[in-house]
């Protein structure tokens, strides 16, 4: 005979204001098997937990039902309490009467009735609960960081610092990411390259860090502590181990008209290239879309081979193929970063019509000493000095229609203030206008920085949006805008227009999320496990989030999150083994007909098939093909139990009979 204890939580007024908790405890006390039913103000408090522990001992409970918040919140708390009192933790069930009841209902009578039903369902389930014991699985002591921007670099350095091996996979030819393209950083105005490149070098020289540049993650298998990842090393047609980065090949290359991606196409590079002077690894890469020999147009082009002739170490290999490497990891940290959005849909700003309308990131390159103009700010169209520059904020950010992003991109207000100030400092004869919706400067020394732009550098900040940008024949640009404070329409004859473009997650993030079975929001930012309390972990165990892949961030915030993600990963890597989830699937081999339906739906590859010998009812022996679940790989998602046509698959802790008992209790 079961002896079940029911514990109804008030959660302060969170539950008690909408649910009559006394009535719930009273009603549930009459359910079959219930020997004690009581309510308490905060069941998760130490006193509340003691109430449960004492009751388990006093009444010899065989099952516990806690009517409280979501199991995601405190299931573990109550399981631990039960275990402390000697009850198997998997004999505890939670009835969620907060998120699924009190928070969503207003009427007390309705909410109370529903809370009682939810409690009854949990009681019906706990009747069928069996004690479960969690196994253990070993942890691979190596971490994978996906993305080699400042977020990925910082995470890798911190993990290596703790003594663990860590690999960085970077899709571009060099690590460094967006920060490498930035000229100066706010609010201190120090040179981005000067603070980033030492970290890049540190990463490359650290014996525990392996950098796979020009590489992509192509497959992920396994689970926390035991990921098996396939990394595709794209062919760069250059032997990384031989190349010294001398650059002779880039000089020899006859194809010099390749848009330079590092300078955002504002100048050209050769088909064989080193992205920039401080690239890590400093190795050449051939762009097969432009290389005359690899593209093979005319016969003369096909025999080009000038880079190979120029290379003194014989590093060039036109026949090099993509290479795949497989590696085991205990933890994976996603640091895939961001990109500015494409501006094709914003024709009102004439970005595609006029070369002097640029994005803010393009302006960074135009002002950078290693940029196309050697650091002198010149108009891209005629290389003249601009005397009037208009900045437009929120291009694609805080947009309520489908073409833009609904969120604030967070960094634009500050970098625009930085741009405005730098231009006024270097070119005092240039007038600078900034059109804004709001100026958002929450950050240490941020508002002071913005006020300096306005008060000390006389940047014209105008509240209002730009409606139309019209390039004119005389080379100037007519900017039509509204000044909302004086309620006027303005026309500014500008020489350049700079668009503070919204940022979005990198396009590789979405397929990666699918591979990692992690969650994303509607904007393709990775979702953290808890918005407040677990901001650097994904909801999938062993996957951590670093930098702007989780949401727009500036550099200090990115670095902070990168280190936080590293510390979470280290916390996992120091363990020799981790406790597995015992709520895994198993197949009833007598019912299994070997159809493979479960194998096809299993996202973890936990199900295999085996030929097994069975004694048949007529006393003969038959060999049948049956499913078998690897409990170390199974994550207990339950997809197989639904897919199985014969009902052979069942999930520990969530068996078919338990679910049906709950449904029956609700429908009774």
């Amino acid at each position: 005979m079961q002896r079940i204890g029911v514990f109804v939580c008030h959660c302060g007024t969170n539950i008690a204001a909408t649910v009559d908790v006394k009535a719930v405890a009273e009603a549930l006390s009459h359910e079959s098997g219930v020997v004690i039913s009581q309510e308490y103000q905060y069941m998760c408090s130490e006193a509340g937990q003691n109430l449960i522990k004492d009751s388990i001992k006093e009444y010899g409970l065989t099952g516990v039902v806690v009517c409280s918040c979501s199991p995601r919140m405190h299931e573990n708390t109550f399981r631990k309490a039960a275990a402390a009192a000697g009850l198997n933790p998997y004999l505890v069930e939670i009835a969620n009467i907060r998120e699924q009841c009190s928070w969503i209902h207003k009427d007390i009578a309705t909410a109370t009735e529903k809370a009682i039903i939810l409690g009854k369902a949990a009681i019906a389930k706990v009747h069928l609960n069996a004690p479960l014991t969690a196994g253990e699985s070993p942890v691979a002591k190596r971490a994978l960081v996906i993305g080699g921007g400042i977020a990925g670099i910082q995470t890798a350095l911190d993990i290596a610092e703790a003594g663990f091996e860590v690999d960085i996979v970077e899709k571009e030819a060099t690590i460094g990411g967006k920060m490498a393209q930035i000229d100066k950083t706010f609010p201190t105005l120090d040179c981005a390259a000067c603070i980033l490149t030492p970290k890049m070098v540190e990463a490359s020289q650290n014996e525990l860090i392996t950098i796979h540049s020009y590489s992509e993650v192509s497959a992920v298998k396994g689970f926390v502590g035991n990921f098996t990842v396939t990394i595709k090393k794209k062919t760069r047609f250059v032997d990384e181990t031989k190349c010294t980065g001398c650059g002779l090949c880039t000089e020899a290359c006859p194809m010099k008209k390749v848009p330079n991606a590092f300078n955002l196409g504002l100048d050209n590079r050769s088909a064989i290239y080193i992205p920039f002077a401080q690239a890590v690894p400093k190795v050449a890469t051939i762009d097969p879309n432009y290389c005359l020999k690899l593209k093979g147009g005319t016969v003369k082009e096909k025999v080009c081979g000038k880079c190979a002739a120029a290379c003194t170490v014989g590093a060039i290999n036109y026949h090099q193929q993509d290479e795949y490497i497989e590696q085991k990891y205990g933890a994976i940290i996603v640091a895939t970063g961001f990109n500015p959005i494409k501006l094709d849909k914003y024709d009102e700003f004439a970005y595609n019509q006029c070369p002097d309308v640029v994005t803010s990131l393009e302006l960074e390159r135009l002002m950078n000493a290693a940029g196309p103009n050697g650091g002198t700010l010149l108009r891209p169209s005629d290389k003249t000095h601009p005397h009037k520059i208009v900045f437009v904020q929120c291009v694609g950010s805080r947009c309520d229609d489908s073409k833009g992003k609904p969120y604030c991109s967070k960094i634009c207000c500050m970098y625009t203030a930085k741009h405005a100030m730098l231009i006024r400092e270097k070119y005092p004869d240039t007038e600078v206008y900034v059109f804004y919706i709001d100026v958002r400067t929450p950050g240490k020394n941020f508002d002071e920085f913005y006020r300096r732009a306005v008060e000390q550098y006389n940047v014209h900040y105008i509240k209002g949006m730009v409606g139309k940008v019209t390039p004119k024949a005389d080379g100037t640009i007519d900017v039509q805008a509204s000044d909302l404070l004086s309620n006027e329409q303005l026309h500014i004859d500008a020489d350049m227009v700079v668009l503070a473009t919204a940022i979005e997650p990198d396009k590789t993030a979405r397929p990666l999320a699918t591979m990692l079975t992690t969650q994303m929001d509607t904007n393709d930012f990775f979702t953290e496990a808890h918005a407040k309390l677990r901001p650097v972990e994904s909801a999938t165990a062993g996957i951590f989030l670093s930098g702007a892949c989780q949401g727009p961030k500036d550099i200090p915030e990115t670095v902070a999150q990168a280190s936080a993600a590293a510390s979470k990963a280290i916390g996992l890597l120091v363990k020799n083994s981790i406790t597995c989830n015992p709520c895994v699937a198993h197949s009833n081999e007598l019912m299994c007909n070997g159809c493979s339906a479960c194998e096809k739906v299993c996202p973890y590859g936990a199900i295999t098939y085996q030929d097994k010998e069975f004694r048949m009812p007529d006393r003969t022996t038959a060999i049948r093909r049956v499913a078998s679940v690897n409990p170390a790989v199974c994550q207990g998602c339950g997809a197989c139990t639904v897919a199985c046509p014969s009902g052979a698959m069942d999930l520990n802790g969530f068996s078919n009979s338990q679910i049906m008992a709950e449904v029956d209790a609700i429908c009774k």
Partner: protein, 265 residues
């Protein structure tokens, strides 16, 4: 099979005969039958399209209902008529109260609640004929001609109701220009108002706006401007002071299909 109810509108019977004539002849050449409903009335465009005014929208609904009764989609060609009819159709399908009021007035055999599909002639070319198909039937391509599309304010907006193209970065007329062999000219003012609406009230302002449009197109090297709007055409020609020729898109269509002599402006 490709038969449409065709609504010309009053301006196309008077000032804008070219827009109408060449729309009809070109459709015929492209294998499309346009049937005019009997006793059609003004689209209602001469009135304000204020949301709470029902009476001015009744004539648009009559046209829409005529197409519904004929069991065909409706095609329009004048930007203003299209705007009024399509917006009315959108409103009546979304706003039950308005639909009820309109039907109380009209006392139709069967209430009209936005069932008719409304095409602008350009949409018909794009979605029914297909620009690729049109290209194959061109006999006099506008080779080497730099043609600027002028959308004006009415053809694309409000974009939710008209749902023709992106209001800030439209491509439909440019694609049409490519189909008839010309080179489209992109210029910033192509989707801005020409000021035609205030010609009577403030001629100077209308002149300023229209010259801005013309200058912007000319600066980008346009040889001519094409439009679907009679009011824009009038205003751009008469008030801008520019010598850039302005034509209806249907004139170029007919010329490309070999149905019309070339313009010699």
């Amino acid at each position: 099979m490709n038969t449409f109810t065709y609504y010309p509108g009053c301006t196309l019977r008077t000032k804008a005969k070219d827009l109408d004539t060449y729309a009809r002849s070109s459709a015929e050449a492209l294998g499309i039958t346009l049937e005019e409903p009997e006793n059609w009335q003004c689209c209602g465009g001469a009135y304000t399209t204020a949301k709470d005014e029902i009476a001015t929208k009744l004539s648009a609904v009559r046209t829409l209902n005529a197409a519904k009764e004929a069991g065909r989609p409706l095609v329009t060609v004048c930007s203003a008529c299209h705007n009024v009819i399509k917006q009315t159709n959108y409103d009546i399908s979304k706003d039950e109260e308005m639909a009820a009021k309109v039907n109380n007035y009209l006392k139709l055999d069967e209430p009209y609640t936005g069932e008719t599909t409304v095409y602008h002639y350009l949409e018909m070319l794009r979605d029914v004929v297909g620009f690729d198909n049109l290209k194959k039937q061109v006999v006099n391509p506008f080779k080497g001609k730099k043609i600027a599309a002028y959308y004006g304010c009415l053809l694309l907006r409000p974009s939710k109701a008209l749902a023709m193209d992106d209001p800030e970065n439209p491509t439909i007329i440019e694609d049409f220009i490519k189909a008839i062999g010309g080179t489209p000219v992109i210029y910033a003012q192509r989707n801005e108002c020409c000021g035609g609406y205030i010609t009577m009230e403030d001629k100077a302002q209308a002149s300023k706006r229209s010259s801005k449009v013309m200058d912007s197109a000319k600066e980008q090297g346009a040889d001519m401007i094409i439009t679907a709007c009679p009011l824009c055409l009038y205003n751009l020609k008469k008030n801008s002071g520019s010598d850039l020729p302005v034509y209806y898109f249907t004139e170029l269509l007919a010329e490309a299909l070999g149905l019309k002599e070339a313009n010699n402006e």
